[in-house]
């Protein structure tokens, strides 16, 4: 079991009677410390989540004062029996895979390159890799609508300048590549987050390990493979978990790139959050939006749980 998982594993609760007064004090202190957070989460996370689950079994337009009729799972059947939904599920899973691996791997390699090699000046590279995170995701996406412009955008201008005058990709207009264009913005932005976390982790590694490896004749690749990666494994689990969750819900990227024809062209960038938005905010169909929200919740919890289980199972033995 990894060190982090070991620390995070809940310990068996001593009975209150048999606990020492010091242990009781610790429990009370813990309770006092977590109570405000629990109250806030109760109000802003758990209560709305439960309300959403309840709403998904009713037929309600979202604006009528009365909640409408209880219809059971009919809302789920209606919300899922259409092409935009199947497209949204497919795209959401693809986003999850990309979110899980691409920014994490690029961020890790970039951090290792800057911290473990003689690349100079390091502060400049650190700044350069972290710059995308200065922008919010939505602002970054809005900026990229100009970058992706087929006639005047930077990317196609570069392609033309390189002599490929017949090549003019419709980055946001071609359904075959629009989702990858959106993912490009996501990766550009989230790699910065991964980079900074991995940088902090790499800086904590005992430098004598690197020195010993070099004395033993290890190459840079071998140092990265056998020292850096195992040393940041727990941090990588944290980063990948965050990236997986963010990757499954990339509304902040898709919305500015495609709104108000949200999820276009022709549903090629449709994801569950855009469908939810359209049902709830544009379509006066709060129940179907709630049903899709529940499906998204189950999807995210399910995939993240499987991922963490897999990481736990494949963790090196102590």
């Amino acid at each position: 079991m990894s060190a982090l998982a070991s620390k995070l594993r809940p310990r068996p609760l001593e009975s209150w009677r048999s606990a020492s007064s010091k242990a009781r004090e610790q429990w009370l202190l813990a309770l006092v410390l977590v109570t405000p957070a629990l109250i806030m989460m109760g109000i802003f996370v758990f209560y709305p989540a439960l309300q959403t689950i309840g709403l998904s079994f009713y037929k309600w337009d979202g604006i009528s004062p009365d909640m409408g009729n209880f219809v059971g799972f009919k809302t789920f059947a209606r919300a899922t029996d259409n092409y935009p939904f199947s497209q949204a599920i497919k795209n959401s899973l693809l986003w999850g895979v990309v979110g899980l691996f691409v920014p994490t791997i690029i961020g890790l390699i970039a951090a290792a390159l800057v911290e473990d090699t003689n690349l100079r000046p390091k502060p400049l590279f650190r700044f350069a890799f972290f710059v995308p995170y200065f922008f919010s995701m939505a602002v970054a996406a809005a900026l990229f609508t100009r970058v992706y412009d087929p006639s005047y955008g930077m990317i196609n201008q570069v392609i033309q300048a390189l002599g490929f005058t017949d090549v003019k990709p419709q980055w946001l207009g071609d359904g075959r590549i629009a989702i990858y264009a959106a993912m490009g913005v996501f990766v550009w932005h989230e790699t910065a987050f991964c980079y900074i976390v991995f940088t902090a982790a790499i800086q904590q590694i005992d430098r004598s390990l690197y020195d010993s490896a070099k004395v033993d004749g290890a190459s840079e690749v071998q140092v990265f493979r056998y020292i850096t990666i195992p040393s940041v494994r727990d941090v990588a689990t944290f980063v990948m978990t965050i990236m997986l969750i963010v990757g499954l819900t990339p509304f902040a990227v898709v919305f500015p790139l495609t709104t108000p024809g949200l999820g276009g062209p022709y549903y090629s960038t449709e994801i569950l959050p855009t469908l939810i938005f359209k049902k709830a905010r544009m379509g006066y169909n709060a129940s179907e939006a709630a049903a899709l929200g529940v499906i998204l919740l189950i999807l995210v919890i399910g995939i993240v749980t499987v991922f963490l289980w897999f990481r736990e199972r494949t963790a090196p033995k102590d």
């Binding site: 009528s64 419709q170 359904g175 276009g264 062209p265 022709y266 006066y284």
Partner: protein, 436 residues
Amino acid sequence: MVNSKRGISRREMLRLMGVGTVGTALGSHIAYAQSVPESGTFRFQIESGPGTDFVAVVDAFIEEHPEITVEFSQVEAAVVGVDWQRIAMEAGAVDLISNENPKFLKLDPVLKAGLIQPLDGYRDLYEWDDWVLAAALRRSSRGGQLWTLPLYYEICGASYRKSVLESFDVGEPQTWEEFIQMLEKFKAAGLIPLTNGHRGFSQIQMIHYQFWASIGGLSGPGSITDVIFGDGKFTDAPSVEAAQAILDIYNAGLLDPDVLSITQDDGNERFISGAAALNVTGTWFYSEMQRQFDDDWDMLTMPGPGGGPIWCTGETEAMVIPAAAQDPDAAALFLDFCVKGTGAKILLERGNLLATKAFGELAIPQIQRLPIITGDESSLLIFGWLPQNSQDAYQQGLGGILAGAITPAQWAQQVQDAWERDIEDGQIPEDRSDLL
């Protein structure tokens, strides 16, 4: 001030209307006693685009009616979200608000939720029937009651520079063949023949309305009117043929090759810069063209295969008085100011196409020729008549046709399925014949 609104709660209103059934609601009659106010204050909210025109209108109103106080605010809809009007009405934050249009997408949801009050008393009091176009009043009514008052009309078409058409020795096309010949001349000269933005809000649908109106005619089987208000289907031949015609001009390089990637604003820029000869837009773009080109501009409606040019029109800037309004009388006085008072004149002078007959002789020539002024018949501008499912299928699918993802027939079937689904969900009144 005579504040004469009889108090009515949303729950009362809902009970009267019947939960979730507009049709049931429409039979009920809610009593409001309306009168001309001696003093008062009303809170007026509108989207920032048309809101700029209303700054002058509000100023003129305050000058003419110093006894009335106006609390005027503009909203950036792109920032606050698509349902900002509903939120303002629910919160009781306004006495008068522009609810965009009197169609299924915008009017029926707030009516179903009991958020607005009928305007029939004011209609009689101020004799709006003598001033406002009959069709605008009819389409703003449900169950025999008037629920909103559209101040403008909007008409879509293809804008052009008069000098450009003259330089190519072409006039406004009257047939599909003439239209294609004109586009080919533009293309041969290196211009983008017809620009249009699909990303974001798709304007391809406006090409479709125009071709469909041209092919299907003003009424009868297969017409737009027959589908929206009658028993017609999106899968009827004229609708499918119109979609096929868009694909044909796209494949022939006569439609902007970047259409799927660019927005309406991008299309406007291409037209204004001279890169594009024609730009699919509407009367909402008139003031900008007047500013850019003085009088060297106009707009045509595009004929489809086998048909002539037919304009597509729609009511817009439809004002509603919320059920929770504190001073509806003052709000209605302002509405009347925009129907036949100085407000109407100001709005007209700014290039708007009014839904009222007042001051029609003052309109600019580009407005004078439009069917609202001439009295000619016109087809429907569809936007707003389609609720979310249908609108999404309609917009996304037109892009899908050009991208090669679906055929025009498949697109039509998807829109029809979504339309039927919206009817089942109660988003569209089952009987729509009284809106004709």
